[in-house]
């Protein structure tokens, strides 16, 4: 699957396509693609589609505990949006020979490509709104980058709808995070506790730092426009001022000397999954981190198995 770097340097077609997309050229047809372009594009859409679907088992437990009917509807509506996004992405994948039905219902849960941020089912409504505020913001930054920069025009166009709807999730999240911050001491404590858990998860959404990243085809073929660090910076520049304006403490700040936002810790750090606590004094290696990401949280397989088997149970409402 992976092509060695020298192969691409030696293959004039690959080089020609890279140079073409670098000038802003957008592809409209599968026939215009090289093998390597197709690989990185399909891989990107595949992961994005899986991430849309896993929002369902992640968000849905909060439907049970959300306080009012409006809140239940808000979560259900967000899930419906996300599945609509998944449908569009799978539709794109079908042009590359994927079969959506078998992809959704016949793959083993371990094969799903998910990110840690979406692998912890929400325990209550506060967790859902905090997750929309910080997590959907992170997701939005990646999908906006694809809409603005992706060299495959059909994907870029399809993300217009996605991003339009994600803005609702983010603003819903911000409004209710602020509300619960001001509602009572208990709800404020719960908001802070949830942000403490989610902030490093969301910062890690953008992946490894640029200087350690070995796979660079997404940028070389302009499937994406911004690097991991650039997108992380963009995310920080939105969530840090928001948090500060509300009073929520986050492990990041603006560094005037460097002229950018920086994390107060050096990733990766150890996460106690059971307690949902980060140990800032315990740094782990990137090798360990990649292993953890690859395996997924303990909720990953049961959550996806539930989607596949449609075992929603009678206790959903």
């Amino acid at each position: 699957m992976a092509t060695a770097l020298k192969d691409i340097q030696e293959d004039p077609r690959e080089r020609a396509l890279q140079e073409k997309v670098a000038t802003g050229y957008q592809l409209e047809d599968v026939e215009e693609m090289t093998d390597r372009y197709k690989d990185v594009l399909v891989n990107t859409v595949h992961i994005a589609a899986d991430l849309e679907v896993v929002t369902l088992p992640t968000y849905s437990p909060a439907i049970k505990t959300s306080p009012t009917l409006e809140d239940k509807i808000a979560i259900a509506a967000a899930c419906q949006d996300e599945l609509g996004h998944a449908q569009m992405m799978y539709r794109i994948l079908e042009d590359f020979g994927y079969d959506t039905h078998s992809f959704l219902f016949e793959r083993d849960p371990e094969e799903w490509r998910t990110f840690q941020m979406l692998e912890f089912p929400h325990e209550d409504y506060i967790e859902s709104v905090v997750s929309m505020c910080y997590g959907d913001r992170a997701g939005y930054i990646t999908t906006v980058d694809l809409e603005e920069n992706c060299s495959y025009a059909p994907l870029a166009r399809s993300l217009r709808k996605v991003n339009y709807e994600e803005t609702f999730h983010v603003s819903h999240g911000e409004r209710w995070t602020k509300f619960f911050w001001n509602q009572s001491d208990d709800s404020r404590r719960r908001v802070q506790e949830t942000v403490d858990f989610y902030f490093p998860l969301c910062a890690a959404w953008f992946g490894m730092p640029d200087d350690l990243k070995t796979r660079t085809d997404q940028l070389a073929y302009r499937v994406r426009g911004a690097s991991n660090d650039e997108m992380r910076q963009k995310w920080l520049s939105r969530v840090v001022p928001f948090s500060e304006s509300v009073g929520i403490k986050v492990p990041a700040h603006y560094d005037a000397d460097q002229g950018k936002y920086v994390l107060d810790y050096e990733a990766p750090i150890y996460l106690d999954e059971e307690k949902r606590e980060w140990d800032y004094s315990r740094q782990i290696t990137w090798k360990e981190q990649l292993k953890i990401w690859k395996k997924g949280s303990k909720h990953k397989v049961p959550s996806i198995a539930r989607v596949i088997s449609e075992e929603w149970g009678k206790d959903l409402w």
């Binding site: 609509g84 539709r91 059909p154 994907l155």
Partner: protein
């Protein structure tokens, strides 16, 4: 190590799709009387009725004034003659 699923959903693709090959519909909509009818997306469905329902629920980002679905096979290309894709996602 594969996880044994208690009840993996069995899908009869032929029955589900009304045939062996997927059937695609392109979705067109306009926001209001002053807007153009635009291509907003694509759905796969076994028949016209399900295509209408899927289009309405998936592309619900606006309160459309008008929406219609067109079977992909009914589209006759002018510029894309001979290409593999006649029309591509929104």
């Amino acid at each position: 190590m594969a996880t044994k699923l208690k009840s993996r959903k069995k899908i009869d693709q032929k029955r589900e799709r009304g045939g062996t090959d997927p059937k695609y519909y392109e979705v067109f909509a306009r926001k209001d009387s002053h807007s153009e009818l635009s291509h907003v997306g694509s759905v796969e469905a076994p028949n016209d009725q399900l295509a209408q329902v899927r289009a309405w629920y998936i592309y619900d980002q606006h309160k459309w004034k008008e929406m219609c679905v067109v079977p992909l096979e009914a589209i006759i290309t002018v510029t894309e003659e001979g290409k593999s894709a006649k029309i591509k996602m929104a």
